[in-house]
Symmetry: C2
Subunit: 404 residues, 2 copies
């Protein structure tokens, strides 16, 4: 939520839903740049704010918007009650700053719903067994919303945010990108992991509990996109199976040359990186004949320096020949759940890129995604080429207009 | 606490105390005008913010300063932990905005203290049996501090604030006013009720549990004032028994003339005022011979209009003859616990005021206080006259220099 005016907007929208007789649990995030402001405040008194304290500090951002929304609802004549993460029964582990939800105790929420109140929950936060406040980290408020929807066995979870839905590609890069009326969890996960503006975490949770997630704008009433489990089935018969193009920039690649080809080498390499909280994305390893191998992997450009330092420490233990790194790369991906049943997508992708003089550095595939690592400076052009090459601007074969 | 720089100051001071081997529980208030800012925010989304929501909103102010102080302490190498009112076990009634503390569950605080940590508690807040957050209202953070000191059986409670101690009169009015090194609970209560910058509530609690309260500046290291129970005894032998001069401005007086002198009339008059949350201060009633009486009472100037309206509604029920009001009055008081044992203070006070041409409108007395209602425009002069008249500028007979 952006500011006070926004809160009144959101209140009116929630009141409208409530008037239709639906029980509503609303999860709110902090207003505008509140969270960044609180982080700055922490750094003004401490070089290294303790994670436990930082969590309690950051949790106040959602408490503020949560109480304001509840007050605004009351002014609209709607009975409403604000709940902290703790009061809403959101129990997490003790990983401050990136806590994971263990369970949701719905007693208080059900009691308030039963009394006809709109329940407004502070997102992004929970509580440990010791009653310490935790925050959930990136994508936290969306994750809270999906978790509550699952725990309360809600019909669906609606996410109102600063994008008005999921597009076939980033509209800033591809002006002719189309908004999808629906998309499957799996496709959304691939898009989210590769650049679309939803954190994969909430999608994963939605998929596990089969909670339909509707993503729409909090600024206007334009129809958004429904992320759900049944989207797969309909697509099976469709002519063109690519749903969207994703793009991640600021990718860096590290190649470890001449690694002895013996068991345990990959673990020896990646375990220390994981322990340093460096997230490794794509990993490629080619076996060779001389009993050594090359291992390449990508990390965020932010983590490149730390990752290189970590791998260098392992020189003796692993005994590799050389360490090479490359920054300023990007990953472009085509995503579509139909791809797994139909051949020819990969070759078509490579042809489109080759025709556009985009050189491919690495290739990885999942069941429903094909990604190419390319030079970052060519990323936008590559997305436009692929969007056109797979005719995403021409038709909507994947997503028929909704008839509800 | 004013700002981030202030937090670092306070952290250093607490760290110094801790280094002497003392266990420390620090209670913090919100920074600067945070609370006013939050109230403005509430009014930006709601004409009448619900008290329950407002409490949760306001409680975030103390959470912010509480976590920041804890981070700053950690940076100074001090193990510290921040606790919300709930985590600190502060249980209150359900009167949102002016909750009263029922009990303090010290388990968590004692556990943290035992592990050698400085415990930093968010003041001004507590939690109901239903786990709803409450705020304590005016004087809330001081009250939290004294309540925790009592519950933890602490040696004393230190209040660092924007005044550097208790003076014989307001130094802004009387430049020669002296700071008291000590004062009794009772005297402090009278001074607090009549204008000194401490809320009577925390003093009352300190008196009940016999917790010495040390009031000093958070800006500098000047010695402050110790409020305690033993201050009475020493004063018994002192020559001059007046401890200080208090002054309340913006006082209004309402007189109800010709009230039938029968049982239940006072109750019929003051119960509706209490129900409207109008605080009545001084009440004077004179019986007369013709079976009617006049009742005069004072209220804050802010409440005059509402109080008059309320009393007017009672015209028929009570059957009085006339209703007269007067605004722009002030109450000046002399306070001293020795007065109750020594005659002549009242007459000396009246003489001092008469010699200064200050007309006295009403007089009330308690065991250790004599108050006169006068014209507000003469209030400052009256305080100066009384300060000089009782030689408060010349000696410190009440408070010998401390020898600890």
């Amino acid at each position: 939520m952006a500011d006070a005016g926004m809160i009144l907007n959101v209140a009116r929208r929630i009141a409208d839903v409530r008037k239709q007789g639906t029980g509503v649990v609303a999860v709110v995030s902090a207003m505008g740049d509140t969270t960044d402001g609180l982080i700055d405040l922490a750094h003004s008194v401490s070089d290294q704010p303790r994670p436990r304290e930082l969590d309690l500090l950051l949790s106040t951002g959602e408490l503020v918007s949560c109480t304001l929304l509840t007050m605004a609802l009351a002014d609209l004549g709607q009975e409403a009650v604000s709940l902290t993460g703790s009061q809403a029964g959101i129990h997490t582990d003790t990983s401050h700053g990136r806590a994971r939800i263990h369970r949701v105790d719905t007693v208080r929420m059900l009691k308030e719903l039963k009394e006809g109140r709109i329940v407004v929950v502070a997102g992004f936060q929970g509580i440990t067994e010791d009653e310490d406040v935790t925050t959930l980290g990136r994508g936290g408020s969306d994750t809270t919303a999906v978790a509550l929807a699952a725990a309360l066995e809600a019909d669906r979870c609606e996410v109102y945010t600063d994008v008005d839905g999921i597009y076939t590609a980033d509209p800033k890069i591809v002006p002719e990108a189309r908004k999808l009326s629906e998309i499957s969890y799996d496709e959304m996960l691939e898009l989210a992991n590769y650049g679309a503006k939803m954190h994969p975490r909430s999608i994963e949770l939605g998929a596990v509990y089969n909670i339909p997630i509707y993503v729409a704008s909090s600024f206007n009433q334009t129809p958004g996109t429904l992320i759900h489990g049944n989207a797969d089935k309909r697509e099976m018969e469709d002519r063109i199976k690519v749903t969207g193009i994703a793009c991640t920039t600021n990718v860096a690649k590290i190649t470890v040359r001449g690694v002895p080809d013996r068991p345990g080498v990959a673990a020896a390499l990646f375990e220390p990186l994981a322990q340093s909280a460096i997230s490794v994305d794509t990993i490629i390893q080619n076996t060779s004949e001389d009993r050594t191998t090359d291992i390449s992997f990508t990390v965020s450009g932010h983590d490149l320096k730390a990752a290189l330092a970590k791998v260098e420490e392992l020189t003796e233990e692993i005994g590799f020949a050389a360490l090479i790194s490359e920054a300023d790369l990007a990953a472009v991906s085509i995503v579509g759940s139909g791809m797994q049943h139909t051949p020819g997508y990969a070759s078509r992708m490579f042809r489109v890129l080759a025709d556009g003089n985009v050189n491919i550095d690495m290739i990885t595939t999942s069941e429903i995604r094909i990604s190419c690592i390319i030079r970052e400076e060519q990323a936008q052009e590559a997305v436009r080429l692929l969007h056109r090459g797979f005719q995403l601007d021409e038709l909507d074969p994947v997503n028929e207009p909704e008839t509800k």
